[in-house]
Symmetry: C2
Subunit: 149 residues, 2 copies
Amino acid sequence: MAAKMERVAKPQMPTEAAQAHRFGKARTAQSTALLEDYVELISDLLASSGEARPTDVARRFGVSHATAIKTIARLKREGLATSKPYRGVFLTQEGEALAERVRARHRLVVDLLVAVGVPPDCAEADAEGIEHHVSDVALDAFRHFLARR
Amino acid sequence: MAAKMERVAKPQMPTEAAQAHRFGKARTAQSTALLEDYVELISDLLASSGEARPTDVARRFGVSHATAIKTIARLKREGLATSKPYRGVFLTQEGEALAERVRARHRLVVDLLVAVGVPPDCAEADAEGIEHHVSDVALDAFRHFLARR
DNA sequence: CCTAATTTGTAGCCTTGTCTACACTTTGCC
DNA sequence: GGCAAAGTGTAGACAAGGCTACAAATTAGG
């Protein structure tokens, strides 16, 4: 049906490979997003109340406790958290480090959104979804932008 | 184990309900993100080469053709696209309208990223993931920010 | 100290999005 | 016109992330 010869298309579309790579990265980011959110929340709970219980986590995320427990199991599988039956959840060193990175990134994203005029509440809400897709290069740019004003 | 009385926690954590709502929104966004990407890509392919074939779509996304076909089936189920066996895919009026909205949003996000100093390539790549999580309020803010400089 | 409420854990089941493998059209070329 | 290549479609498997329902442990009150 004419495939090979369609190289005369308009130039504004990126190459196949480049586009596939971008979408691939977005998909990967999505798969780690949940882990990042959990780790950050658990870290926050540990810091503010000294413990992180599955039901608290579940309530914060707005999911059932079963779902939270399953995800915590995945966290443990990936070496980010530890827990013993009927005791709360704790983070490994790696988990805590990830939490710190995620927290910093979250703040940076919120700050940038606010700096360009997004209302604080909205910035906070949008950042929850956005933060997982912001590359390190972009984060550096954000930092410079915020410093330069 | 002390749950009810933990209301003395540090004040920087949002309320349970607010946080649950935010995460819920982020989850919902994720579920529509794929549809949006497909619709936008199909629209681009139609505009640039006159047809959108499942394998082209698959290659652009970097997934197998089977995956692309399944997602296209979902697009049809949701009234965004039409297709007949062994012919290409086309968008319904609704699908084309969605594509236009998504395209505009994508451009706006890229423009904002570039405006705050993110390198164009990186902006384009990051926008692919970010765009699905930017609320209308934030988009308005982006527009104002870009106009005001 | 015993019972009831809460929390935790387990066991299915569903949907999405991905894949590979196989079957069937359509297209293109000699 | 017929055959090989390319594209299209279908089936079945798998992991992730969600749910409900049930079972077991812990905690709290009387």
